[in-house]
Amino acid sequence: MQVHLTLFGQLADITGRTEMILHDIPDTETMIKTLNELYPPLKNAKYAIALNKKVIKENTILNGDNNIALLPPFSGG
């Protein structure tokens, strides 16, 4: 399954990209594993995952349209 990713804040700094497409991703756990292999510093990063604009907390099977956003916490004020 194809995943269209949007990365925010320091996650875009780590990967050097704000958008990317991953192929052959059956579920969100595989997506995280694939990202960690591609960009090892992501392993230690904390972020929320939103699938089609809804935050998810558990491993989720991907089918159909998969727009995923990875959102790290910001602290600045």
Binding site: Q10, K46, A50, K54, L71, P73, F74, S75, G76, G77
Partner: protein, 369 residues
């Protein structure tokens, strides 16, 4: 019907049919606390005071500095060195003398947060560190207060309304989104990462807008939703948030547990760094640094080339009072035990001391000599 509001001050917003005199009265009756009179707090305060929010609290312990002025729009060069909270209070008083302004010129902590927050209905978080953000979130959950959250990082901002029950009676809080604080160094603050002044201006103004919408009951406030804004490409991204039953267990359940919770520790504001051999060479010239050998007594090689004390890692916790210098360099044979020692000291002292661990230890030092 005669206009109960003086001087036509609010005439332009009362003429909005969605707001009207009823909305203006709601604003007058509202009690709003703004925590942090910085990049987000300044614009939020300006517009809330202008709109006629009847009681506004300001919490900040910091002083105005020159590097604040590009984004903290309540202050001028004449305010440098003065209290942000007091100066913000003075400026708002000049803009709108018809409202009540309560200044808390102090650092928000788990000792005073519940007392301060208790007196207000809506809480704006414009602070600049994770310890404060978790502390404010937890206090709002305990006291059932609505939290208007804004934060920024470089060119991006986040905005949300937390802990405000939706129509289906669901209230999401900050820990539902980010249960645990990031580790030290994972997220840079404005000082380290930089920020363009107009970004907190935009996000802080949006925080004031959401507050006014909540008070007057107009529009669709960002309840249980998070909005991000990218000032470089003008992209807005909105997502629906999810309440997680497990996060409730992470929040102190009452005021006693809240006051006992160490937020600095939870957010691991570690102050320890690994020192390279080159840096070590330079720093040995500095007489104000305390060098501590954390190897057990009798370990070789003995170090005779510079002054140091021997405090073995095994007894370090008991001997912390023996460590008095502001800058401390810890070393051992290979750099492993000194790294552990640095963690221990860093947890004990927080950011009040500069703590270093010598990378590769004495073994590395002998090689580099």
């Amino acid at each position: 019907m005669s206009n109960p509001f003086r001087n036509d001050r609010y005439q332009r917003q009362i003429s909005l049919k969605e707001l009207g005199e009823i909305g203006q009265q709601k604003l007058k009756d509202a009690k709003v606390l703004v925590i942090g009179a910085g990049g987000l707090g300044c614009p939020a305060l300006l517009y809330l005071a202008g709109a006629g929010v009847g009681r506004i609290g300001i919490v900040d312990f910091d002083l105005v500095s020159l590097s604040n002025l590009h984004r903290q729009v309540l202050f001028s060069v004449h305010d440098i060195g003065l209290s942000k909270a007091l100066r913000a209070g003075d400026v708002l008083e000049q803009i709108n003398p018809d409202i009540e302004i309560i200044v808390f010129n102090e650092r928000l902590s788990n000792a005073n947060a519940l007392e301060i927050i208790k007196g207000f209905d809506l809480i704006l978080d414009g602070t600049d560190n994770f310890a404060s953000r978790y502390l404010i979130n937890d206090a709002c959950v305990i006291l059932k207060k609505t939290l208007i959250y804004g934060s920024i990082s470089r060119f991006e901002g986040q905005l949300a309304i937390f802990n405000h029950p939706s129509e289906s009676n669901i209230a999401v809080n900050y820990r539902d989104l980010f249960p645990l604080a990031p580790s030290d160094g994972e997220v840079l603050n404005c000082e380290e990462a930089g920020v363009i002044g107009v970004l907190p201006g935009i996000i802080g103004t949006m925080m004031a807008n959401e507050t006014i919408k909540l008070i007057t009951g107009i529009g669709i406030p960002l309840i249980n939703r998070l909005l991000t804004y990218n000032s470089l490409n003008n992209h807005f991204f909105e997502m629906e948030l999810l309440a997680i039953p497990e996060t409730a267990k992470m929040i102190p359940e009452d005021s006693g547990a809240f006051k006992a919770f160490n937020y600095d520790w939870f957010c691991s504001t570690s102050s320890a760094y690994e020192l390279s051999q080159e840096e070590f060479k330079e720093m040995r010239k500095n007489k104000n640094i305390q060098f501590v050998d954390v190897r057990e007594s009798g370990e070789t090689p003995e170090v005779e080339n510079f002054d140091h004390v021997n405090i073995p890692l095994s007894t370090l916790k008991d001997q912390i009072p023996d460590i008095q210098a502001e800058t401390i360099i810890l070393f051992c044979q290979s750099g492993k035990r000194s790294a552990t020692a640095a963690e221990i000291l860093s947890k004990h002292f927080g950011k009040s001391r500069k703590i270093f661990s010598l990378k590769d230890g004495i073994a590395g030092w002998q090689k580099s000599k």
